[in-house]
Symmetry: C2
Subunit: 520 residues, 2 copies
């Protein structure tokens, strides 16, 4: 075996643990990691022109595969650019391994311009942070980072790798292959099913709250079918959490709506329930603090948890359904909405997309304008997967679509996005063109921060002049068609439902990315 | 006096301390700060579509005025998006006041989706971090934040402001107007000038290293003239630090070059000197750790500091020149470079811009491709101000240009930028169009990360296939003209020096922004 550098050993160890994809925006302190890729064909690198593209793509990849992608980021400032989407990934319980180069170890004390406190930046979005402290440490740390990324239902694991330890040869015999990761599929919590069944029987009015995650999560197909049986047996209602990391959706599955965002309608759902059953969902809290509403929407004594977010809960739901003699699941048939006509509205967009969506599509949803109407309508679409913004850091939609497309090359990806939030990581369009990803991006172009205007108007007060100015994006209106084309993404504009339907059909019929600006 | 909310009191206090500009990208937890602007006409708000635009603009504003602008950012993730340019601002010693909304105080314990450890994110780029802990605390904290931003030669001061304390009325009588900020213009260090003169006389070979800052900094006109006198008296050489926050430049001023970036040419300048005089510059360290080169390029015993970065050093230099009986300053006349012809090269671009630059221009320089040749040539341009990337976090060039244009409405601003780095904060183009700023953006479009290729080739090794792929930006080539136009910025493309000269003349003759893609 020839001599390995620390960087080569790190890639080899990551590859040995099953990492096959790295979303990268390296700089000078990561160049030995770049050099070491030359012999490492099992790891695919995908460039992002800004780091939040890389971290958001890793989130999308991890949500779809259940395995961590790596990110490769440049020192503290490069990492900082990617924090917002790592925040979303943390809320989604997505496994991610972040690789951050740092200055050569002996150069750090001199506080050169690019020096910063990387650990302080990394901790808020990492369940585990480790600074590689020697070349020999690199392969061990790499293997451990993969294990850590899979811990606790999925989390960020961040490795800081000084440049000299990347470049130096591994001492002595090559480090023994790290023991393989304890394929840490999270285990189902051990539940007292009889006691759970007893509580369910005793309750008068039950709400099931299902939380996202992978195939075995609360919004996987199995869990939803079991939840549907429980609803039938108990006269219960079931909801998806408001912002699921991943929800299976479409014909053959129940049409569970999402728990509403604002506290009044959320309370209308939850307050009447004497038992709220959590399956992969956290106890529901309001998104922001609203005067007159409690933060925690359901008191602890009314809660029953079948499993934490990121953990498999399908089996527990099935066993409970059996224990309660629930009827067998009957696949519902949801009537397809009529083909809308005329000017585009959020409801029309939801209906058009529902009718056009190919089977097996993955829909990355960001932005309130079109997200809610589509999600409501999409029960009637063919089976597909929805990914939503879990942490509220906007600029997630395009990058997550990139990651999902890399993770699932055979599936059509759709980004159903708002114009305000999409600007934050607009550079992702280039990666879509560069990799020729099958992503169709739909931009709801209302040229305003509509969510802020909705919040400002909640009190009933009219919008002040300065509040209006600070939430307006219409001077000038961004030309989304020209913008997409400048990044190499073919683009069109639609102002009516008929035109949108035709353009969608066309875009789904071709390979590679496309963008449609939807004039609202 | 009518009842004030905490948010109104905060704006009033900031305004009272001289803050007149806020670069804003607010969200729901900042809406009471938005509402409170309605009565506060002394503070201008400028929207950025991504937070790193806001923080970079505040950096440019602070460099040009010596006063802090505020930023208004949304919780941890919004702040995180602006960290990279706050890192650059920290290295530039720019005063900035960051306002971050946070959840309503009683909502924080419930770990709602947007909750994160804001303090941990803020500390690495803030000299001072304060969490407002009551409505009454808001005006005091605001006044203190301005003072803190001006401390230590300039730094980031970060205020975290929970939403409920923004909204609630100030208790009892309105807080007494905070005592005005101790207009904390940093004082010149008290130097033993006689001892300094003695060391200068005794030295055989002297290098002066001048560091940026405001008018009275080491690269202000006064300091440069005095340094020129010292060079004449002592046979010394003078250099600007490699990445000055702000340097006055042009006809009538000396043609001091910047200390080279790579260690070999930097050492060729510094190793022969037995005395290196620092005037507003830090002791020089290599940018990265390079094997075979010390990090600290000049041993402490060969260093003499006349004042730290961000502190005025002009007077000390003048007094030293007088003490050494240095001759009077003679304004040099630098021959204008000949008008270049033919295909664009970095040298040709430097010459064209030098010839075209209007008097009093401000040039935001980012990217190695054109930055060095222009800086070298620009001594022959009319008097102007150069702003460079102080911290190495790329994506600074456009936002700093925005901030400089807001700070200095009468002056022509130029962004001399590289295509790779400009992508990181491309959204700044929209703010330029929205505010109709007089900024001419020149993009050196070589469609690659040239700096990384230069670093990769330093060892003499050829570029590997994967290294080439990870540093290539040419599939597809970004259409910069279309990109700028989609944001409302008129744009053209130039492939020859003659065309660039004509387009520059045209752009400088019109108001509002323009972009020129320079094909390399």
């Amino acid at each position: 075996m020839t001599e390995q550098t620390g960087a080569q050993a790190l890639w080899a160890a990551l590859s040995g643990e099953g990492v096959d994809t790295c979303f990268a925006n390296p700089g000078t302190t990561e160049l030995d990691l770049v050099r070491a890729l030359e012999g490492q064909d099992s790891i695919r690198c995908v460039i992002g022109l800004q780091e939040n593209v890389c971290t958001g793509a890793a989130d999308g990849y991890g949500r779809m595969t259940g395995r961590p992608a790596a990110t490769l980021l440049h020192l503290g400032p490069g990492f900082a650019n990617g924090i917002a989407n790592l925040h979303n990934a943390r809320r989604a319980r997505t496994p991610i391994v972040n690789l951050i180069g740092d200055h050569t170890s002996w150069h750090l004390p001199f506080d050169a311009p690019l020096t910063s406190d990387i650990e302080s930046l990394a901790r808020p979005v990492s369940g585990w942070v480790h600074r590689i402290d020697s070349t020999a440490d690199a392969p061990r740390a790499a293997a451990e980072s993969v294990r850590q990324s899979l811990a606790d239902g999925g989390q960020g694991a961040t490795l800081i790798f000084p440049a000299d330890y990347q470049a130096e040869p591994l001492p002595g015999t090559p480090a023994s292959a790290a023991e393989p990761a304890a394929a840490a599929a999270p285990e189902a919590a051990s539940l007292d099913l009889a006691a759970c069944a007893q509580r369910l029987r005793a309750a008068r009015r039950i709400v099931l709250l299902l939380g996202g995650g992978g195939e075995a999560g609360g919004l996987g197909a199995r869990a939803q079918r079991a939840a549907s049986r429980l609803c039938a047996a108990l006269g219960a209602a079931a909801y998806a959490e408001t912002f699921p990391a991943r929800a299976e959706r479409g014909q053959g599955l129940p049409a569970f709506d999402r728990l509403p965002y604002f506290p009044e309608p959320a309370r209308a759902v939850l307050d009447p329930a004497d038992l709220v059953v959590l399956a992969g969902a956290l106890p529901p809290v309001t998104y922001f603090g609203y005067a007159g509403h409690p933060s925690l929407l359901v008191a602890p004594e009314r809660l029953l948890s079948l499993g934490a977010p990121g953990h498999p809960v399908a089996e527990a739901l099935e066993q409970l359904a059996d224990a309660l003699d629930a009827p067998a699941f009957e696949a519902p048939v949801h009537p397809l909405p009529a083909a809308p006509t005329g000017p585009l509205t959020p409801a029309a967009i939801g209906a058009v997309l529902t009718r056009a969506l190919p089977e097996g599509a993955i829909v990355s949803v960001e932005g309130g304008t079109c997200g809610y109407p589509f999600y409501a309508a999409s029960a009637a679409a063919p089976l597909h997967t929805a990914l939503t913004n879990t942490g509220g850091a906007i600029g997630q939609g395009l990058p997550v679509a990139v990651g999902a497309a890399i993770a699932c090359p055979g599936r059509q990806v759709v980004g159903l996005l708002s114009d305000g939030s999409t600007q934050y990581t607009i550079q992702a369009l280039w990666t879509m063109a560069h990799e020729q990803l099958d992503v169709v991006v739909l931009i709801a172009a209302n040229h305003q921060y509509a969510i802020l205007r909705n919040e400002l108007r909640r009190g009933g007060a009219p919008l002040g002049k300065r509040a209006e100015a600070l939430t307006a994006l219409d001077r000038p209106r961004i030309d989304w068609v020209g913008l997409a084309q400048s990044y190499g993404v073919p683009a069109t504009r639609a102002a009516t439902a008929e035109v949108l339907a035709a353009q969608l059909q066309d875009a789904f019929g071709r390979r590679g990315p496309a963008l449609i600006e939807m004039a609202l």
